[in-house]
């Protein structure tokens, strides 16, 4: 039984939430509590499978799963030189992202049990599970068109969830902006897939990487396809000049959904990394792309931090902080890609390039945890006081003690104060980015201090100060909310105190998987 689960883990991790998503409306008609229990069990199973899959991938490398094939590993049916079926290709990086997605969704689910009541809740959980399916599908699949389909599932379900509080006007506006921009980006991805299919008659990412990396068959249309893919995934990842949908969407979504949306944005970032590092790696002009990523990162950090300062709505402010955090990741990944370009795919990357990649990938996990915790606290504050305007809030620490402690932990982590996880990944980024050019490192450190100033502002104006009359009656957030915040805080403290354990065991396999294009191609074209 156990190895049956291990061999079929890549598809079970997608099938369980999908099955639960379709089952929810049926169970919902029977009993509300039964539905909650079923959804909880399904997300828990997905989390367990994610860790089983992670263990399997960390032990024996890349796992390939062919849907509908005679045997699991049969990527090339007899007599074919080209993979035909949908092949799930799970390497260190996709398992790293799967852990993030399942963990965030599990904690988000715990959180949303406490405030999702009433008649619309059945649809809320279906969409929540469909969002999880979209994220995991994007991270697991080795097929480019399948990536497009899961990207669309993710976009549609998260747009519907952003507009969950449809009685208020703003969530509707945020949702329509999000869905129009996302479906436009997805159409560009589809156009790029059409170009690649027209060029190579292939849809599988591994086989495509094989074709693209060989100089003979690299053509001009493939470069145009890369630009379309790159621009769409950079938009979906929320980088600087195209970031404006992100604070709208994060600011207006229900409490737990803002956190899961952060993980959804990281899933698009994963797709960007997959396209840059694995599918195209050295075929395109990697150093220019590296420089573009670095500049996008810097602009994101600068705009995210400065715009966050003048915000009045609490969740919208954290949304801009999320843009800045994505800027850090793009900066680190850009430096890593720039170094990889110098060495040219085959050789060994320079020491600080490797550290930059480790810092960037580690910061993806930290970013989701830190910004996620802040969104949970903001959700608790809004749930208790029904007020999200910072000017009207004040003196909540008197009644909401635990939430304010969690806010301090989140604040310290996001702005990179030493003992916590934010600092561990940011120190990696600062020191390695410094080698490329000191200015980038200076801007990164300044922005980090800026972020501290921003969150001190929230902390002071929301939690400190005298007990205001209008909030005299409000009491602490419900137990479930505090429980989910505690789970995230414990993980953050653990990551903060033992970063070397995390980097060596979880981040390094992901980084090596990113740089190991040959392994990715080989496992599909039968060379493994």
């Amino acid at each position: 039984m156990n190895d049956w689960i291990v061999t079929n883990a890549p598809i079970l991790i997608i099938a369980t939430p999908l099955f639960a998503a379709f089952l929810t409306p049926l169970v919902d008609r029977v009993s509300k509590r039964g539905r909650d229990a079923m959804v909880f069990v399904a997300t828990l199973i997905t989390l367990v499978i994610a860790f089983i899959l992670a263990k399997n991938v960390f032990d024996n490398g890349l796992v390939v799963y062919t849907l509908g094939g005679k045997s699991v590993g049969l990527t090339l049916p007899s007599g074919y030189h080209v993979p035909v079926r949908i092949i799930l290709e799970v390497d260190g990086m996709s398992v790293f992202m799967a852990m993030i997605s399942t963990l965030t969704s599990f904690v988000g689910l715990l959180y949303s049990f406490s405030y999702i009541k009433g008649e619309g809740s059945g649809k809320y959980y279906t969409l929540f599970l469909m969002m999880l399916v979209g994220m995991l599908g994007m991270e697991m699949t080795g097929d480019l068109f399948n990536l497009f389909v899961f990207l669309e599932i993710l976009s549609v379900s998260s747009a519907a969830l952003i507009a969950f509080y449809a009685r208020k006007g703003k969530p509707l506006e945020a949702s329509i902006k999000y869905i129009i921009i996302s479906s436009l980006a997805a159409l560009f991805v589809l156009f790029a897939i059409g170009l690649l299919y027209g060029e190579y008659n292939l849809l599988n990412m591994g086989a495509l990487a094989g074709e693209i990396s060989s100089e003979a068959t690299f053509t001009f249309t493939t470069q145009i396809a890369f630009i379309l893919l790159f621009a769409s995934f950079v938009l979906k990842a929320g980088a600087a000049p195209m970031h404006m949908w992100l604070p709208d969407a994060y600011g207006e979504a229900p409490g737990a959904i803002s956190m899961v949306l952060v993980a959804a944005t990281q899933a698009s970032l994963y797709a960007l990394l997959r396209v840059c590092f694995t599918v195209y790696s050295m075929a395109i002009d990697a150093s220019t792309i590296g420089i573009i990523l670095i500049s996008l990162g810097l602009v994101s950090i600068f705009i995210g931090a400065t715009m966050a300062l003048i915000q009045i709505n609490m969740k919208r402010l954290i949304g801009y902080a999320a843009v800045a955090e994505i800027g850090y990741i793009l900066l680190a990944i850009g430096v890593g890609f720039f170094e990889l370009a110098k060495v040219g795919g085959g050789g060994v990357i320079s020491e600080y390039g490797l550290k930059a990649l480790q810092g960037g990938v580690f910061h993806i996990f930290n970013d989701v945890l830190d910004i996620g915790l802040l969104f949970l606290v903001a959700g608790a504050v809004i749930y208790v006081t029904k007020e999200s305007n910072l000017n009207k809030l004040g003196g909540l620490a008197h009644s909401m003690k635990y939430s304010s402690i969690f806010f301090i932990i989140g604040m310290a982590a996001v702005s990179g104060l030493p003992p916590l996880n934010g600092f561990a990944s940011k120190i990696l980024i600062y020191e390695s980015v410094y080698k490329v050019s000191p200015i980038t490192s200076i801007i990164a450190i300044l922005a980090s201090i800026f972020m501290l100033a921003i969150f001190v502002k929230i902390f002071h104006s929301v939690f400190m100060g005298p007990k205001l009359s209008e909030f005299a009656t409000c009491k602490e957030a419900p137990k479930l909310m505090l429980g989910s915040m505690a789970v995230i805080a414990v993980i953050m403290i653990f990551f903060g105190l033992f970063p070397d354990f995390v980097v060596n065991n979880i981040v390094n396999p992901a980084v090596n998987a990113l740089m190991n294009q040959a392994g990715y191609i080989g496992s599909v074209l039968g060379g493994v």
Partner: protein, 113 residues
């Protein structure tokens, strides 16, 4: 135990131990300070005879927390507010604009090479 970074290493546990030790030392020094704390009349802030306003009004709200900073950067912030228009058409314009910039930066040198 330590995380190797480019310039050296970072081990939070040792840092935490040093932090606790430093905290204890400073706590002891703080403890040796004056115990007597003026109660009653002396404790009130001297506002040149004015009556101290109730705490609610004094609490600095979020908007004017960094008033000085946002005011000096008035030019930059007005420009940023103007850019973030919140209209869907501008979002699409940003996306298509950035796509063309990527196109120009990456593809055109390729063409003229």
């Amino acid at each position: 135990m330590a995380l190797e970074t480019t310039g050296g290493y970072w081990s939070p546990v040792i840092w935490l131990a040093a932090f606790i030790v430093a905290f204890l030392i400073s706590y002891i020094i703080w403890g040796m300070g004056e115990k007597k704390h003026a109660k009653g009349e002396q404790e009130k802030p001297f506002l040149s005879g004015m009556e101290e306003p109730p705490k609610e009004e004094v609490h600095i709200r979020a908007e004017n927390m960094y008033w000085g900073f946002t005011d000096t950067l008035r030019g930059y912030y007005d420009f940023m507010k103007k850019i973030h228009t919140g209209i869907i058409n501008d979002y699409v314009l940003w996306f298509l604009g950035m796509a063309t910039i990527f196109f120009i930066v990456v593809i055109l040198p390729e063409v003229f090479k």
